[in-house]
Structures are given as structure tokens and as C-alpha cells.
């Protein structure tokens, strides 16, 4: 994973996040390695509870300090995020890195107007007056194509439709021209027609501003629509990475394959869907081997004894499965017989 030349915008090295409570310890993120180049869009795909959101929050150190144990390296634009203190950290948040959340309804403060919330961010990072902040907020709302932006500036979140709220959220995230945008399932709560609008908007703005984007989703279609590269997460681990074409076109990990095959599309009428059986493991008691093994149709004894290594094919193309190791003779078995 060594990429010479420009340093990566984001580098995660052996990131581990555990939530410790009296009753149990949840291993939410386990040994995650990831890099993101400037201007690149990375999609993290995974089932619910696979640790996508936790990884994103770890990037901004938004996890509850007292309960979350973060280890490993988190570097954004050369800064070691885990060692930042006070002001440095809050300068990073919203300035260098900003974030869009899944539920814009709950992610916006219900008692302040949308305009205020944007202006406040601008003021925080650019030290301007409130009025200048409001002006900028107006520009931003226009940028994200909010109709009648002037009126919406003074609207409260609950007065906006889901799509508009999410656009306001995006405007807020963009307010200080971040280098890195984190988007945690920003379109999941939206209607199909609105979702595509937002996706296209995000893509356009990303291209214009040259931001790096990490985009979390569990919808392969969304990834196909927006991603440059894809990382697939399962039970707190990244099990496969690659460009979007590679991963969606030629999935290597059995889990990725299962995801693809269980996604419904039109021409499957009357046939059963090839669903992945079972459900994900309990993160409080992780199995020692491959976490996917109990649901994997290729699983064998070796899978459950030790953690499979990261098998690296090219720069940025990885799969964590013993069956895809280049030296493995059993590799062709991976293509299941029709």
C-alpha cells in the first residue's frame, strides 16, 4: 500500500475501535487499513452494524471519549488526528474535514434556522461576522440548488422536505471548502427520485471542488453511481477493496459476491434470489477466524481457525480471504458451478 509521490489525503493504519462497557466490549472496527487520495471518491459498503459509521466518526474523533477505545493511526492531510488537542481538533472538524449524516432531520439542530447553522460554521472557521456568514450561507444554498434559497435560509429544519434538508446539510458541510468530505449514508432516507438528484449534485460539487470523499452506503447501486473506489466492510473489517468497476464487476470476496447476488433486479422475476443465509456475527464475541465463514458457502476448517490475511492484488486491490490468495490453487473454485 505504499503510494509514492503525493501523500494520501487519508491514511488509516490498523485502526481499531472498541466500545467498552461494564457488560461487554464491542469490537466495532478491527484492523482497518485504508488510504484515500485527494479528489478521490471512496465508497464503503457494508451491512448494517458492520462498522462503517464508527470508522467515519473515528476519522473525526467524534466517538464518545470515555467509552470508545481507538488505537492505530488516523492521518488526514498529514495530521495525526488521534493526537490532536482542543483547538487543533476543532479546527480540523468542519474546516479540513466535514461530514454529512444519514438523517438530516436529527442531525440538524431543530431550534435554529438552517441559515444560522450554516453561518455559524462559516463564522467559526473563517472568523467573519454573522451577516457575512449568512451571505455565504445563501451562496451555499444556491450552490446546492435549493430553490428559493433566500426563504429557506430562515426556515427551520422541520419545515423542509427530506431532500431539501439533506441539501442544507451538504451546504453546511461544504461551507468551509473541506478537503475531505465524509458522507454517512446521506441518501438512504431519501426517495429514489430525490436520491439521484442528491447523488448527481454531490458528484458535481466534488468534481468542482476537488474534494476527497468517503461515502458510506449499503446500496451497491449508489456506489456504482458515485464511487471511484470501493471498500467492502464486514463485521468491522475491510474484506475487499478495489476500483468500483473491479469490485462490482469482478468481486473476489465471497461476501461481496453474495451482496451482489442478493441485490434484486428486474430480470429475476419468478426465481429465488441467491440470498446470503444467516446474519452477521455478534461484535461482542467475534470468532477468531474469518467472521464471514459461518455464512460462507466456500468455508472450510482453515477459515475458522485464523484470521485470513489481506491478499493484495494491485495497489488498492485487496481481498481478505484465504481462498483468493494468488498462490492458492483452489482459487478457481471461487467461481461457483452454475
Amino acid at each position: 500500500m505504499t503510494d509514492t509521490g503525493t501523500p494520501p489525503l487519508v491514511r488509516l493504519q490498523d485502526l481499531n475501535v472498541k466500545f467498552v462497557t461494564r457488560e461487554s466490549t464491542v469490537s466495532a472496527v478491527n484492523d482497518v487499513n485504508l488510504t484515500l487520495k485527494a479528489g478521490e471518491v471512496l465508497c464503503i459498503i457494508g451491512e448494517s452494524g458492520s462498522g462503517k459509521s464508527v470508522s467515519m466518526r473515528a476519522l473525526m474523533r467524534l466517538l464518545p471519549e470515555r467509552r470508545a477505545r481507538i488505537t492505530g493511526t488516523v492521518e488526514v492531510d498529514g495530521k495525526d488526528v488521534l493526537s490532536l488537542k482542543g483547538k487543533e481538533l476543532s479546527d480540523l472538524r468542519g474546516g479540513l474535514v466535514s461530514m454529512i449524516f444519514q438523517e438530516p432531520m436529527t442531525a440538524l439542530d431543530p431550534v435554529y434556522t438552517v441559515g444560522h447553522q450554516i453561518a455559524e460554521t462559516v463564522r467559526r472557521h473563517e472568523g467573519c461576522t454573522y451577516d457575512q456568514g449568512m451571505e455565504r450561507a445563501l451562496e451555499l444554498l444556491e450552490l446546492v440548488k435549493v430553490p428559493s434559497a433566500e426563504r429557506r435560509l430562515r426556515a427551520f429544519p422541520h419545515e423542509l422536505s427530506g431532500g431539501l434538508r439533506q441539501r442544507a446539510m451538504i451546504a453546511m458541510a461544504l461551507s468551509c471548502r473541506p478537503k475531505l468530505l465524509l458522507a454517512d449514508e446521506p441518501t438512504t432516507a431519501l426517495d429514489a427520485t430525490v436520491q439521484i438528484q442528491v447523488l448527481i449534485l454531490l458528484r458535481k460539487i466534488q468534481a468542482e471542488m476537488g474534494m476527497g470523499v468517503i461515502f458510506v452506503t449499503h446500496d451497491l447501486g449508489v456506489a456504482a453511481e458515485i464511487a471511484d473506489r470501493v471498500a467492502v466492510m464486514y463485521a468491522g473489517r475491510i474484506v475487499e477493496t478495489g476500483t468500483v468497476q473491479e469490485v462490482l464487476g469482478n468481486p473476489k470476496h465471497p461476501y461481496t459476491q453474495g451482496m451482489l447476488s442478493s441485490t434484486v433486479h428486474g430480470n429475476m422475476r419468478g426465481k429465488d434470489i441467491e440470498a446470503i443465509p444467516g446474519s452477521p456475527p455478534d461484535l461482542r464475541a467475534m470468532p477468531p477466524g474469518c467472521a464471514f465463514a459461518p455464512r460462507c458457502k466456500y468455508a472450510e476448517a482453515a477459515c475458522t481457525t485464523a484470521l485470513p490475511p489481506e491478499v493484495i492484488f494491485d495497489a488498492g486491490r485487496m481481498a481478505r480471504c484465504i481462498k483468493v490468495a494468488p498462490d492458492s490453487v483452489r482459487q478457481k473454485e471461487l467461481v461457483p458451478a452454475e
Partner: protein
């Protein structure tokens, strides 16, 4: 139409071992309480206080009514009077123990009755809605428009002193807020899909309330009413203090506080005992109620 490849048996096979230990909601509450040492401690205190009241006849070293004027207003530890004596030379410890019976009854009974009455009214109002709700809640609103102490004093003052009147007035004071809590909880639960689903099976109103509503609103109602116990103890003692609650020579903490007040210059420590008892009891009930609240506030 015959290509069913997956039989349900397959699905069972892959569901695997249970992911979590099976615990019911109440077991869960119990589990959380088990580790809440503060609550456990104060719970034990409450038990102790209750038991000492229940077994007062066995525990009390002396007759709480027997006076002896030679021994009036003696300090703590005088002769056999562990906590000293009152203005008639009666043993304070014995009176405190017996007094607990009345004070705690005055604290707990009104809340209990109000929980039953107010809870029922609230659940009915919340579930049935419409006109019934209007009728019940408007009446409740009227009583709610009186600050509780004002209402308690006004009713007690109107009906005259006595334990029964005192309890009656406190009950009336607690019915409206409990009714409101029950109504709010019920109308929240009522809108959840599982109640809709129950209606969709054609179930009758009463059956739905009994099976689906009750179990879900009991928690909040109980938490609220447990927090009312200490309020009730305080109000009851206040009434007795004003001469509206318990009548002498019955030992009651509030009343003892009132009568001992005259002697505060002679023996201030002894005069403080009933006050301290009220304070401690109230604190215990409050903290237990808090513990219960946080134990029951489990997001499932």
C-alpha cells in the same frame, strides 16, 4: 410456479446459536439494578425503614403513648431513652418507630390509590381518545390548575384534620398528575404499530388494553408514582405540621416535629430527630425512584 428452492428449514439451519442471552424486559431491569449499588443501598434503607415501621411493636423499647413528666425533654441517651424523650416524657425512639407507620402510610397509600385511580383513568382516556379523553382530561386539567400543596391544604382544611381526611386529600392531589402521565404514555403506545396490528386482528378494546397497553405503560407510571412517594411524605408531614393531618396523640413524624418545635430551645437535637427522619426517608425514596427510572429507561 414450482421452483421453490429455499425451504424454511434451510433458514432455520442458518439462524445459528442465539446471539444474546434471553432476558425479558423486567429481568433486564433487575439485571441493571443488581449493579446499581447506590440504588441497592438506598433500596435496602427503604426496606429497613418500612420493616421498622411494620415491626414497630416488636422493636419499640417502650410504649409510645406512655408519658412521664419527670422525664420530659431528656437528651439523647438519657437512661433507657436511646433518642431521648418528648415534651410529655415519652420515648422518642418508640414514637419514631410507631410514627413511621403513620407517616409512611400517609406517604404511600395516597400514591397507591392515586396510581390505581389516576392510572386507570389515564389509560382509558389515552386509549379511547375522543370525547372520553376530552371529558376526563378537562376535569383533570381543572384539578391540575391548583398547585399541589395548595390543593392538599385546601382540601384538608376544608374537610378538617385526621389521617383519613389527610390521605383523601393527598390522593386527590396525586390523581391528576398520575392520570396525565398515564394518558401521555398510553397515547404514545397507542400509536405504535403493534397496537394497530392488534386492532387489525379484530381484538376488542379491553383485550388490547390488558394485553398490549398495560405492559408498556406500567413502567412509566410506576416510575412516576414511585417518585411521588417522597413528595407525598413531605406533603403529609406538612399537613400534620399545619395541624391538618394526623391528630394527636398519634405519633407521626410531621406532628412530632410540630409539637417538639416548642421545645427547640431546650433540647434542639431531640427536636430535630423527626425532621431528620423525614429528610432521610424522603431521600431514600427519591434515590430509589431515580435508580428505578434509570434501570427502566432501557432502550431495547
Amino acid at each position: 410456479m414450482a421452483n421453490i428452492t429455499m425451504s424454511p428449514a434451510d433458514a432455520v439451519a442458518v439462524q445459528g446459536a442465539p446471539a444474546v442471552r434471553v432476558r425479558s424486559y423486567w429481568q433486564n431491569v433487575g439485571y441493571r439494578l443488581r449493579y446499581d449499588y447506590l440504588t441497592l443501598f438506598f433500596g435496602a434503607m427503604v426496606m429497613l425503614i418500612l420493616l421498622s415501621a411494620v415491626f414497630a411493636p416488636l422493636l419499640a423499647p417502650m410504649d409510645p403513648y406512655e408519658s412521664s413528666l419527670i422525664n420530659r425533654l431528656k437528651p439523647i441517651g438519657y437512661k433507657d431513652f436511646i433518642l431521648g424523650t418528648d415534651e410529655l416524657g415519652r420515648d422518642i425512639l418508640s414514637r419514631m418507630l410507631y410514627g413511621g407507620r403513620i407517616s409512611l402510610t400517609m406517604g404511600i397509600m395516597p400514591v397507591l390509590v392515586a396510581t390505581l385511580v389516576g392510572g386507570t383513568l389515564g389509560i382509558v382516556a389515552g386509549f379511547v381518545g375522543g370525547r372520553t379523553n376530552m371529558l376526563i382530561m378537562r376535569v383533570v386539567d381543572v384539578f391540575y390548575a391548583f398547585p399541589s400543596i395548595l390543593l392538599a391544604v385546601a382540601i384538608s382544611g376544608a374537610m378538617g384534620g385526621g389521617v383519613v381526611n389527610g390521605m383523601l386529600s393527598l390522593t386527590l392531589v396525586f390523581i391528576p398528575p398520575l392520570c396525565r402521565v398515564a394518558e401521555t404514555a398510553t397515547s404514545q403506545v397507542r400509536n405504535l404499530d403493534f397496537v394497530e396490528a392488534a386492532r387489525a386482528t379484530g381484538a376488542k378494546t379491553f383485550s388490547i388494553i390488558r394485553v398490549h397497553i398495560l405492559g408498556n405503560v406500567l413502567g412509566p407510571i410506576l416510575v412516576y408514582s414511585s417518585s411521588m412517594v417522597s413528595v407525598s411524605i413531605l406533603l403529609a408531614s406538612g399537613l400534620s405540621f399545619l395541624g391538618l393531618g394526623v391528630t394527636p396523640p398519634e405519633p407521626d413524624w410531621g406532628l412530632m416535629l410540630n409539637t417538639l418545635r416548642q421545645a427547640i430551645y431546650i433540647n434542639p437535637v431531640v427536636c430535630a430527630i423527626p425532621g431528620v427522619a423525614i429528610l432521610i426517608t424522603s431521600i431514600c425514596f427519591n434515590l430509589v425512584s431515580d435508580g428505578l427510572r434509570s434501570a427502566m429507561d432501557v432502550r431495547l
